[in-house]
């Protein structure tokens, strides 16, 4: 067996030298230290760190310490519940904003905004408004996601379509999909005409509403939503049915790789976010693709230019120890240099409007121009988003279910959506009206 004495010696040594590790940069004296949980990992962590360094250099009152471990639901929630949160954190899932706000875990930022030089009109409405709940702003955006229609010009040429002319309306989308659909042999797909996005995006394109703030009711059964699901189902059916499509999709390669279905010709058209052009440049520089605004339903031409918005959001916990300093950092993130720096690296849509037309972002090579197209899409007045509600995660999970059941014909579109509405409404009613009695920047 292992000899005893050296083992004991080793153990004693270990016990006496804890923390014998690298020292990191100490906090410069005279500065307030604030901790930020940003959740960026991998090489993205490096980009965010660069932004943090730039901020720390730009002033000498505050020092930001960024902690990027994997953002886990459990970790953040535990810290919030136990009252030991960081001073500022980023959210991976904007859907959490409503629940956190409704439970007073994050503080409203209105007072900070009013007192600062920030003009909300300079921000894309769909960005700052994703953090709007019950009359207050709870989260600041830092680059948002916007979606456009991407298509493979090569596939278009193959079937005799004009590669510069994407489908503009839903009926055109259907027709193009049928043209671009291709079978290997009966029962085995070779190429999908159009890869279906999530149902909530589709509902937005039809002008459907998720929630009516006037009546405080979930409106999943809004007639537009039912139309959207019915059309969604049709697009599934004309491409072989949900089962075949799902099986075909399982054979898709890794999302972040040269084997993505779009690159290898398994999908001719798809809806994706602004990052897609950088992916094209990185993984398939030879890919001849186009990007355009999303199609609108023929019967509602006013919906032209609609898109769906997502994004990264930062919140200040109610029990943050340095909310004013945290706000200072958030405010800096809304300035031109900060947004430009991050957008150049991360390829998110800047939510600070003046940056949208910066030539370094949107001009030059064709990928930057494609990115520019999506930036313009994001700035359109018709850009929509999922409103902040405390029940969003449930709502989104249930919408996924409704999409599955609806697409497979197990429930009628109306029934699938009605079930969602009923469940989510039931949950929503459990949240009483919250009167915000806390002042930002400390306990009430």
């Amino acid at each position: 067996m292992l000899p005893r004495r050296p083992l004991l010696a080793a153990l004693l040594l270990l016990a006496l030298l804890p923390g014998c590790a690298r020292r990191e940069d100490p906090v410069p004296p005279g500065r307030t230290l604030i901790t930020v949980w940003s959740g960026w990992t991998g090489h993205e962590q490096g980009y965010f760190q660069a932004a943090v360094k730039a901020y720390n250099r730009s002033q000498n009152r505050i020092f930001v310490k960024n902690m990027s471990t994997e953002m886990d639901d459990g970790k953040l929630l535990r810290a919030l519940t136990a009252g030991v949160p960081p001073d500022l954190f980023f959210l991976w899932e904007p859907s959490y904003i409503g629940a956190l706000a409704a439970n007073n875990a994050i503080q409203p930022l209105d007072l900070f905004i009013r007192k600062s030089t920030l003009n909300l009109k300079d921000l894309i409405p769909g960005s700052i408004n994703q953090g709007y709940y019950e009359g207050h702003y709870y989260a600041m955006p830092f680059l948002i996601d916007a979606y456009g229609l991407y298509w493979s010009k090569k596939a278009f040429r193959e079937v005799g379509l004009d590669p510069e002319r994407p489908p503009r309306t839903m009926s055109e989308l259907e027709a193009y999909t049928k043209r671009l659909l291709s079978w290997e042999r009966p029962g085995q797909l070779r190429r999908l005409g159009f890869e279906m996005p999530g149902l909530n995006l589709f509902m937005v394109l039809f002008g459907g509403r998720f929630y009516d703030p006037a009546t405080k009711r979930i409106t999943t059964t809004d007639p537009r939503n039912v139309e959207a699901l019915a059309f969604y189902k049709r697009l599934y059916q004309i491409q072989g049915g949900a089962h075949r499509i799902d099986a075909f999709k399982q054979g898709f390669g890794e999302y972040n790789s040269a084997n993505h279905q779009f690159f290898v010709g398994k999908v001719a058209m798809m809806i994706s976010g602004q990052w897609w052009s950088s992916y094209c440049r990185k993984y398939r520089p030879g890919m001849d693709f186009g990007v355009a605004p999303l199609p609108y339903p023929d019967q509602y031409p006013g919906l032209l230019g609609t898109t769906y918005l997502g994004g990264n959001f930062a919140c200040i916990p109610t029990e943050s120890k340095h909310p004013r300093q945290a706000w200072d950092f958030l405010r800096w993130m809304q300035t031109y240099p900060a947004q430009l720096l991050f957008a150049q690296k991360m390829r998110g849509v800047p939510n600070y409007r003046p940056v949208l037309s910066d030539p370094s972002l949107t001009q030059g090579d064709r990928w930057s121009r494609a990115f520019g197209v999506v930036c313009q899409i994001a700035n359109h007045p018709n850009a929509r988003f999922f409103p902040a509600l405390p029940v969003n995660l449930l709502y989104m999970n249930e919408l996924d279910n409704a999409a599955q059941y609806g697409a497979r014909g197990r429930k009628t579109p109306y029934q699938a959506l009605a079930d969602v509405e009923q469940r989510v409404q039931q949950e929503l009613e459990k949240y009483p009206e919250y009167r915000i009695a806390r002042r930002p920047g400390g306990k009430p």
Binding site: D73, G74, L77, L80, T81, A99, L100, A102, N103, N104, A105, H243, D246, A247, Q250, G251, P390, V391, L393, L394, N397, N401, Q404, Y405, R408, E427, K430
Partner: protein, 334 residues
């Protein structure tokens, strides 16, 4: 100590004192667990019981609801669905035990290279989950040009067809309806019917951990029993059934109970790989509980789910305990 002529009272008091001494000794030995559970376990567990009767949204103080959570649960279709899904996974329990024991016995025989084989069998348990998730998605990929299982299946299926054609060609007397056939591809994780069996298959890879425990147990079987059985001319099967299994029955009991509790709390694979789909076929009880607790912020509801699970586990464990008197053999209590 002669007690033959001692008066009954003194003997009785001696016995009582000895019993008390044993009680004190026993309690002393288990004192670390008592202290630990009082500090680390009891509090949180009681809190969760209290919360199961409350509406607790995690970030705000709870308020009392009475039995409302429980009433809602019983009417919740996902509750029953998830319970059913979890119950289905019980099939894995006897499979895992039999395979684990068989492997351990195989490795206990005197063959060369035992350490090597044992290490190889144990390897899957060691691969970190973050790496293996990707591996399994590839294995279960339904495209026969990519996925491992369907790729192999595709090749086997073609071979079967060839074999079938050959047989029919050689023996024309075979009825035309009789065919050798293997499905060319199986949807694995994509279809609601095959998703759970796929997950079971994935779990069985980790049977190496149980194998280690059975191996350790097999070391304690007295050799002389085997020698005596050999003299009596017993077959391998008889030796296994009458000597090996009873000798390791305490450990089998352990694996049955812990395996059962493990099935009840089955969570990780579904969380990482399938998120409860397709069509809720892999929505296991613990996954639904997790969703309620951390995504829907219905912690009180989740606590109610936890306590229902606790009651079911307790009842079933007691049943297994009772039955153990009949099949578990403790050398210590002879």
């Amino acid at each position: 100590m002669t007690t033959a002529a001692a008066p009954p009272t003194r003997r009785a008091s001696y016995a009582a004192r000895a019993e008390r001494r044993r009680l004190v000794t026993g309690l002393l030995f288990i004192s670390p667990w008592i202290v630990g559970s009082l500090v680390f376990t009891l509090g949180p567990v009681l809190v969760s019981l209290y919360l199961s009767f409350c509406d607790y949204r995690v970030l705000t103080p709870p308020h009392w609801l009475g039995g409302e959570n429980y009433r809602q649960l019983l009417a919740d279709e996902y509750f029953w669905r998830s319970l059913g899904n979890t119950a289905f996974m019980f099939i894995e329990l006897p499979l895992g035990i039999v395979i684990g024991i068989a492997l351990a016995m195989l490795l206990n025989a005197s063959v060369r290279g035992q350490p090597g084989f044992r290490t190889l069998f144990y390897l899957p348990s060691v691969v970190p989950v973050v790496a293996s998730a990707m591996l399994w998605l590839w294995i279960f990929n339904p495209d026969p040009k990519i996925g491992l299982l369907n790729g192999l299946l595709g090749m086997l299926s073609t071979a079967m067809e060839g074999l079938d054609a050959l047989l029919h060609g050689l023996l024309p007397v075979l009825p035309a309806s009789l065919h050798l056939h293997l499905p060319p591809e199986i949807p694995w994780l994509v279809s609601a019917t095959t998703a759970k069996p796929s997950i079971m298959l994935m779990d069985l890879w980790g049977v190496g951990g149980g194998m280690i425990i059975y191996l350790a147990a097999l070391q304690g079987v007295p050799q002389h029993l085997y020698e005596a059985a050999d003299i009596d001319g017993a077959s391998s099967w008889q030796k296994t059934w009458h000597i090996t299994l009873p000798s390791i029955s305490p450990v089998i009991f352990f694996m049955v109970v812990t395996g059962m509790l493990g099935v009840f709390q089955y969570f990780t694979s579904a969380y990482i790989m399938t998120s409860g789909g397709p069509e809720h076929s892999t929505l296991f009880y613990a996954l639904y509980l997790f969703q309620n607790a951390f995504q829907y912020f219905k912690m009180g509801y989740a606590c109610a789910m936890a306590w229902i699970l606790f009651l079911i586990s307790l009842v079933l464990t007691l049943v297994v305990f009772r039955s153990s008197a009949r099949w578990v053999y403790y050398e210590e209590e002879r």
